[in-house]
């Protein structure tokens, strides 16, 4: 299990909603990560619409959100799938909306709750996060900040590519271990 994730950060402000992460007129694309990924973050960073593969081509693999990241009361998984399709490997936020946090974890995208993170990160900073301890290091500035660590179970979801896949795998593993 890869316990550390490092990459280039994109900083957004407070109250980025599910609708801004992936616009409502894209929801009919289904949960295809690659397709959704082309349109990810268009409501936050409109210039991605002028780039061939959108947000993905900007090379940000860590998104840092302010308060209530992914809010708007929607329980759908599309915003998280879109971020995954855009190559995002880690979310960190001052606070997450409840359903965006649950869906990130359930889809195997690590999400670290870290109040104060937006004060110590700028867009393009290189961050390194330890999923087990919750420690986040800004390699560009040298500042360290403590976030909420992920539990073993959640790390298992990340490793297997999501909660349902984790449980599916668990059942497949049973007969093998009997043999």
């Amino acid at each position: 299990m890869k316990r550390a994730i490092s990459g280039k950060a994109y900083l957004c402000g407070d109250n980025v909603t599910a609708y801004q992460i992936i616009a409502q007129n894209r929801w009919n694309l289904g949960l295809k990560e690659d397709e959704l990924g082309k349109w990810a973050m268009e409501g936050v960073c409109p210039e991605v619409l002028n780039i061939e593969n959108g947000f993905k081509d900007k090379g940000f693999t860590i998104v840092v959100g302010g308060e209530d990241f992914g809010g708007g009361g929607k329980s759908i998984e599309h915003p998280i799938a879109a971020l995954q399709g855009a190559g995002v490997k880690l979310l960190i936020a001052d606070s997450f909306s409840r359903y965006s946090f649950r869906n990130a974890i359930n889809r195997g995208l690590p999400a670290i709750l870290c109040p104060g993170i937006t004060k110590v990160v700028c867009t393009n900073d290189i961050l390194e996060a330890d999923l087990v301890t919750g420690n986040i290091r800004n390699c560009t500035t040298g500042v360290e900040i403590q976030g909420a660590p992920l539990s073993d179970l959640v790390l298992g979801f990340v490793e297997h590519g999501g909660m349902l896949a984790y449980y599916r795998r668990k059942h497949l593993d049973v007969p093998e271990s009997i043999e």
Partner: protein
């Protein structure tokens, strides 16, 4: 350092002392699945290759969004759910005729204080009124609970709301819940546990507490909880030894503490198209009304019907207005029949509907048309929620709803209550 009620329940369910912000695996005591999410939950469960459902006796399946079905797709969805529950031994299947809004069934006969009780619907926060940890979950969460009996939860920080003073005549738990939404910007409550107590809540009926916990969902909370007491035990029908009555420690740590004076609350109304667009009823008095909806998991219990009848008994629904009365469950319906309430509503000119979510979430009968205005005792008034996106929904108490039905316009219900008192 002491613990809040939610931290105590989380610790017990996780089998260890938990810390705020920590992600823990908790055992789930009660799971509610509705007909809206059921087919998705069941297909996700079957994709897990599990042969059996863990603890089927801890699951309640409620048909409530499309009851009875009015289109073939809904009928087929019900059929899928019925077959699945039979196959996997989920016996607590609320078949049509023994049905009700699932949240109401969860509190009437199932959830106990101190439990972890989750549901595939955002107003699952309601069971917190019984001193349980309760919140809404996604369909894949429900599938995993059926497979493993557990789910991951993040331990939320708690915010305390102390409600002091007494509610004035004609002011209800619904008005108080709308006052709470205005306590702070919605962002303050997101993902938090809101612990609600104080003398006003202690004096309040369990029915009123259910309104408060139900409406807390509109504050963006993860969960809301009210300390269980003798009233709670009587309501759920168990003894203190058969459940866990959790109190917050004196040195429990809250992120914030609010005090709300109940005696300062006036009859309130949430205006279109957001629940936090709260005004005093008198500020919008005089607006004509086309439909009045009395029901839902928020306000479809005996106490709500009684409040409405304080105004409606012996009066008539105004010409040009339709009043829909939807008791929250068959248990409520039967009691309302036995006490003669249903007859009084019919004599007043109301339409009685079978228990269900009806038009509250736009999934059932009772929709409003273009340019129509509804006063509803429900919990959401988003654009198009109760039918036409060109219609308007105002949320208020059973008193305000009944007064609107009689007068044909939004008005202060205390004008009618004074007449009642004068008689």
């Amino acid at each position: 350092m002491g613990s809040t009620i939610i931290e105590k329940i989380c610790s017990r369910a996780a089998g260890k002392q938990v810390k705020v912000g920590e992600i823990v695996d908790v055992s789930v005591d009660r799971l509610f699945i509705n007909d809206f999410q059921g087919p998705i939950v069941f297909s996700q469960f079957e994709s897990l290759n599990s042969k059996t459902v863990m603890n089927p006796d801890r699951i309640l399946f409620g048909l409530d969004h499309r009851v009875p079905p009015a289109d073939v797709q809904s009928a087929n969805n019900h059929r899928i759910c019925r077959q699945f529950c039979t196959k996997y031994g989920i016996e607590r299947f609320a078949e049509i005729g023994r049905h009700g809004i699932g949240h109401q069934l969860m509190v009437e006969q199932f959830t106990r204080p101190g439990e972890v009780a989750l549901g595939t619907d955002s107003h699952a926060t309601m069971y917190g009124a019984l001193g349980a940890l309760s919140c809404g979950i996604t369909s894949s969460d429900a599938a995993v609970i059926m497979e493993s009996g557990k789910i991951w939860l993040q331990v939320p920080p708690s915010i305390r709301i102390n409600v002091v003073g007494k509610l004035k005549t004609g002011v209800t738990a619904k008005d108080l819940s709308l006052a709470m939404i205005k306590l702070a910007p919605v962002n303050e409550f997101i993902y938090k546990a809101v612990e609600i107590g104080g003398e006003c809540i202690r004096d309040m009926s369990v029915s009123g507490r259910l309104v408060i916990a139900n409406m807390a969902a509109e504050m963006g909370v993860k969960c809301s909880v009210i300390e269980a007491d003798e009233k709670t035990l009587k309501f759920v029908g168990c003894t203190a030894e058969e459940c866990h009555l959790d109190s917050p420690d004196p040195d429990a740590v809250y992120e914030k503490v609010f005090t709300l004076d109940a005696s300062s609350v006036e009859p309130l109304i949430a205006c279109p198209h957001n629940v936090d667009n709260v005004q005093e009823v008198v500020q919008v008095a005089g607006l004509p009304v086309d439909q009045v909806f009395l029901g839902s998991c928020t306000n479809g219990r005996m106490e709500d019907l009684e409040q409405a009848l304080e105004i409606l008994d012996g009066r008539k629904v105004c010409k040009g207005v339709r009043l829909l009365v939807v008791p929250a469950s068959q248990t409520v319906m039967l009691e309302a029949v036995e006490k003669g309430y249903i007859e009084k509503f019919i004599r007043a000119g109301a339409a009685i509907m079978t228990p269900s979510c009806a038009s509250c979430a736009g999934a059932g009968a009772g929709l409003i048309g273009d340019e129509e205005r509804a006063v509803a005792t429900t919990n959401r008034n988003f654009k198009g929620r109760m039918g036409s996106a060109r219609g308007e929904v105002f949320l208020a108490s059973a008193y305000v709803a009944a007064a609107a039905a009689v007068s044909g316009k939004i008005c202060d219900p205390r004008d009618f209550l004074k007449e009642v008192a004068a008689k």
